[in-house]
Symmetry: C2
Subunit: 356 residues, 2 copies
Amino acid sequence: MAKSNDTKYWNTRLREAAEYQPGEQPQGLEGYIKLNTNENPFPPSRAVVEAIQAAAGDALKRYPDPAARELRKAYAAAKGIDPENVFVGNGSDEIFTLLFRGFIEPDGVAAFGYPSYSLYSTLAEMNGIRYETVPLNRDFSYNLPGFSKKKYAMVIIASPNNPTGTYCEVGEIRSFLGKFKGLLVVDEAYIDFYGGSSIKLIGEFENLIVTQSMSKSYSLAGLRIGFAAAGAGIIRGLMKIKDSYNIDRLAIAGAIAALKDTRGFAYNNEMVVSNKEYLEESLKALGFEVVPSRANFVFTRHPSVAAAEIYRLLKEKMILVRYFSGPVQSEYVRISVGTMMEMKRLVKELAAITGA
Amino acid sequence: MAKSNDTKYWNTRLREAAEYQPGEQPQGLEGYIKLNTNENPFPPSRAVVEAIQAAAGDALKRYPDPAARELRKAYAAAKGIDPENVFVGNGSDEIFTLLFRGFIEPDGVAAFGYPSYSLYSTLAEMNGIRYETVPLNRDFSYNLPGFSKKKYAMVIIASPNNPTGTYCEVGEIRSFLGKFKGLLVVDEAYIDFYGGSSIKLIGEFENLIVTQSMSKSYSLAGLRIGFAAAGAGIIRGLMKIKDSYNIDRLAIAGAIAALKDTRGFAYNNEMVVSNKEYLEESLKALGFEVVPSRANFVFTRHPSVAAAEIYRLLKEKMILVRYFSGPVQSEYVRISVGTMMEMKRLVKELAAITGA
């Protein structure tokens, strides 16, 4: 075997881009309580499982619909918009990649909040797009006026924000759009738990793109379905630049079934919210500072035990939470909402760690 | 709704790139015999269906393994290579996109044969990569020395070639690699029907990438699984640039099961080859010229009936074959191999069309 464990054939951009670090995915370490990647602790709808099982048959020999029309129709109906305003991506990740590739000129600059979802800057680098960050306010709310100071080609706002859980009101987004001429992407991966989507603004502003995901609120991280809602011109551009058959038949079938099971969806989300509120109250009772969150996770720190230490000690106890290096973030851990049993185990270990 | 059916927010590259035209996918037109997109006429293995049905459950709430380790291990074992030499893409399409994005400098030039898979040039344009084409020889074999005349950053050879079905011997690939310093991508989407893969050369040449697909020979076009085999450095680059979770849990489970069912796979391929030989003989008996093919399709023309006319008349009879515009190609139709019943229907209609 030729020795080729080097980067000789990588282009400069690939060599220089920072690598994205997804949360630890312990393979074969089944004992862990996994509260580090914001997955939903409850299973997906039975209707999804049945739809996938029905789709897993002879039809797999055929390519999927390259335009995923049935799924776009179902999503559009659920959101009260038109299918021509809907794009489906292989997770929201693919949508962000496509936006960087097709909607910013080489001299354009993107902007994100800090701290926010670290994938944005990774993808910008990977696509040769320069970017700047605008620090969140001290309470971790977005400083939207801070994004108007320069002519950014694209701004990505996560609402609720990851990892802080903080939320931008629709009214704030609307005011910002009144002044902003670039593209505004509102990443709503976590919107479904508390609602309040900006999707209703897409008819008003042709420079708005709202992305959503089935990974969290639909318990379908394993299926890879993300949506973008935007004006028809932007959607056509996304369709043009995507790979021909980006969504497979099983994901299309499962996602359509998920959208139809509105009762199961509402019930699942209520349980997540209820467990999250239990987690918040319990953390506060242990002396933790808890950032107000509208997502299925909380961003929290303790006055006397360092976040890195909390992360490490919990891992020893077979509980994974997310710890980020970097300024501001490194003072906190991000804890995903689990089942009630998992939350109780976590709280018990945290009581021991903090000596409460 | 704001009028936004325009390309105002597209960047120059997206605006200027030509759009890829996948073969017609008639939605809801169930009566058609579909011989236009090289899908396998036989169903996928039962083992695949069962593995997907088993994977469709609570685990869908969890992200898939971002490195698809189990699948890479299974593919590596099947091919006698190491998992560190294997990458899995959301179809081969994703792999080509990633290669253009991460392995060519902005001033690099790519080269493809002509006629060949039209997606290569579309993807090059979409990624701002200049490209040239080197015409195939008159018998539609590759003119490999023609690719050595300039310092191309990347050459993509399809073997068997699409749409011609012609094949490059491993010895020819090896000789070419002895002289060529750029990256050579051998697209083997159609290799399994007759064998003769260049994958055995990846240990010898660190600038070789061999791509394969489960869409055709495994009857899994609906699942989106493509593979790249190459030196570890190239694979690490592909892993770095891909979206974090590019392959979903169901596709991973199905693909692993497909690789294990070697008997079903061999049987399926034998049937395809046998039907293809029937098709070739029948076409010749009707006076067609048939380009020798090692794929599951044939590229063929008739001395007196124009290809466009054959396409149109077959479509009237509810049979879809592929017709390409453009020089050389427009003289031919490409016909995918179907079931024996479909081949007999086709031959009957062609007999009527050609007056044989």
